[in-house]
Symmetry: C2
Amino acid sequence: MAALRHGAALRPLSSASKQIPRVSASRLPFSRNFTASSTRMASSFLPGEPEGPSVKTEIPGPESKQYIAKLDQVFDTRSLNMLADYTKSVGNYIIDPDGNALLDVYAQIASIPVGYNNPALKKAAESPEMVTAIINRPALGNFPSHDWADILETGVLKVAPKGLNQVFTGMAGSDANETAFKAAFMYRRQRERGGPAVEFTEEELSSSMLNQTPGASDLSILSFKSAFHGRLFGTLSTTRSKPIHKLDIPAFDWPHATFPQLKYPLAEHEAENAQAEADSLAEVEHLIKNYHVPPAAVIVEPVQSEGGDNHASPAFFRGLRALTKKHGVLLIVDEVQTGVGATGKFWAHDHWDLPEPPDMVTFSKKAQTAGYYYGDPALRPNKPYRQFNTWMGDPARAILFRAIIDEIQRHDLVANTARVGDYLYSKLEGLSKKYPGQFENLRGKGQGTFIAFDNPKRDEFLKKAKKFGVNIGGSGESAVRLRPMLIFEKHHADILLGALEKVVSS
Amino acid sequence: MAALRHGAALRPLSSASKQIPRVSASRLPFSRNFTASSTRMASSFLPGEPEGPSVKTEIPGPESKQYIAKLDQVFDTRSLNMLADYTKSVGNYIIDPDGNALLDVYAQIASIPVGYNNPALKKAAESPEMVTAIINRPALGNFPSHDWADILETGVLKVAPKGLNQVFTGMAGSDANETAFKAAFMYRRQRERGGPAVEFTEEELSSSMLNQTPGASDLSILSFKSAFHGRLFGTLSTTRSKPIHKLDIPAFDWPHATFPQLKYPLAEHEAENAQAEADSLAEVEHLIKNYHVPPAAVIVEPVQSEGGDNHASPAFFRGLRALTKKHGVLLIVDEVQTGVGATGKFWAHDHWDLPEPPDMVTFSKKAQTAGYYYGDPALRPNKPYRQFNTWMGDPARAILFRAIIDEIQRHDLVANTARVGDYLYSKLEGLSKKYPGQFENLRGKGQGTFIAFDNPKRDEFLKKAKKFGVNIGGSGESAVRLRPMLIFEKHHADILLGALEKVVSS
């Protein structure tokens, strides 16, 4: 395990690498298989990472403070966590202008997949294809490029969830979810109308222009308490994380059900937890049948992330799939934060063993692009221009996602995340026993590195962690959520564990 | 004037260039001034443009059809206009896989500013700074880069509208407008509450989580008939362009006023038009005072673009500014389509000579990034994380906007657009007299190349235009809208005019 040193100068390679040559992962053959490597010496998928964190100044330090003061004059900086120098950041390490290098297990709110300055992504970013995509941005719905199908098929669609083979591309998580909502509303009304061939009535046409029914549908999206699906007006109406996200913003009268509040350790609360999940499903069914603004779809996160890392069992989600099917309501799985490998499966809903796929799966963050996958052709609206906008995504970001997918497959990073996650979880179990009350409700077992726990002084905990060289995020009221990148390895886990122990014992 | 030839092979330089050496603009000194150049020979800001359009096959041709069939399997192609090969497209010309080269006066729905494969943008796209921005995308609200202030100040903010010196960055026009709406709602409620220091009540906190008042405000955004502000749930509630954009999507009960419907030629309808504008302002005032969901802001486009290129006079907009000030309602100017030079001013509202700036100006499209400008510090919400999302824009696209701004300034392209627009408008006046009924309600005089006219068989007109080598867009019910790039010059205008005449005379 690399030592955690305060004030130590950054060294480009660890001392271990001087004894046992560290092989740059980018020079390894395609098929390198790390599956049996849990006992190997520390090495990194990315070359050039520091041996460990290095904290030289308070954070922000004097250099950072100057940049922040300048930025604040033109850009609201009150949610600023730390300033970074991305030309220096590398792999799992975020490095600031004062030379502080932190092990980053927050990773831009879970959106950096394969490390800062990943050489494979750099190669993709420098490619003529990327340059063309950057400078000649098309309106994809009207004037797609001749290679757009190819970019999709070798990238975004190569990792399409099982059963879903189509995509509508977007810009970020919020609009991925909002366009999925729109697809759900159009699908539902089309079915009620009697199919795609039935024309809109005059009353529908005219009332739609007045924002009134029947043209503007009186339908809803059902979400869960503590859910987070975005901050634009439709998604914010389904977001139920914290008042600060919602205050003062007009909202739709849409329903929400209680998300199961599981008790930990799971093994000690089996009956209670099963009951909580049954109650939640019953509430969902009640709302679908009775809510005065009928739901066209249910949206759910595999793990409620912003809401505090709330998990439910695969059986719960299978129940939700069965329920929505039974009542002809669509199921949208929001994989914006859970998707792209962090849970030890490429998509978190792969853990559920669903007999039928979700109707739509939304994605963004680690994909660096966004959109929703779907399979049923009826989810394409009956006429063109109903689901449309100028850019409809960004080929440049789709090309980057393709490079990310290649990098994940080349290094088998989903398996890495599963393996390192198991290791990290088992060690955290040890810490939770050693420090009662400090690592409460440890959760995410078998979910890769998608691990969280509660700490009674969470905000202080996160601040202290920076002093010990680790950048960690919180969520919900008291959760410490771990969101390492997919290139997070056992020796990084050891650094993190050492820092966490220092936080609670200092 | 370059001849319009069907079936002619593309030639990289015009025959004229063999007689009079064509100087590549990119090799000209920085200060080259085209202001007095209206009589010069045809030349292009960009090197390598074809002499004129070249239509070799029907559009889409056999090659394009194969690509479209492949794309349609995974991506809805029913709104596809034409497929393009962006590696071959250059300057004002969009070129397809069948080798058809069309003069592009639609320009990706008005979003290409300085031409396909512009060498200066290519240089920016290949820069190490861009590569870093592409592969290390930050969560700007939490972890901005040390150079983010510098990127803003030398780019986005260098062209900030007069009186507005702050920016909130976003991804596209829709979310630029939606975040501006959120800022307006928070601002209004803060004022009603008694200022930023007044804490939220328990009732506000708890009701916000239920999407109910008083936590979720019962306020609205006032827009205009025929307006287009986007297609997400908040913006779609302000969009009043066509039913097809709105059908089946739930909408907020927000008000809209009649946009003045000016009659042309303006000089012949002065009194009527002044009355229409006065009536519209009176309706706005009535709605502000009486609508049962009070408006926190009015949003308006300088020219209603998607709605059919509807103009109003500077006096109307000054009246709107005065009215909104009088009633303490914010004025949001949506410059998503009008901004960045196309109207012969950098911002279209620069034409209005406002005594006080708008409260917010939204931008996207030709900026290739998005956001809203503001000036009043009170438009920053009273607490962090109220106006926030993971990415909050994209430094890569902000770097590109900076390069676009540099290119505009280097070639004085706003002046070019004003000059070429005047030329184009005067020639179109001639055509409208020569072909009665074909170029109806010609509008956009003095508005750069932001020119439109109505044609009774508009859709057929646009299809025919392709056959004659020009890619043009429509809007509203019958408008042909011209949206050339800023590098559109007199010789391009002549090609366009020739094609338009063929369309109506063939």
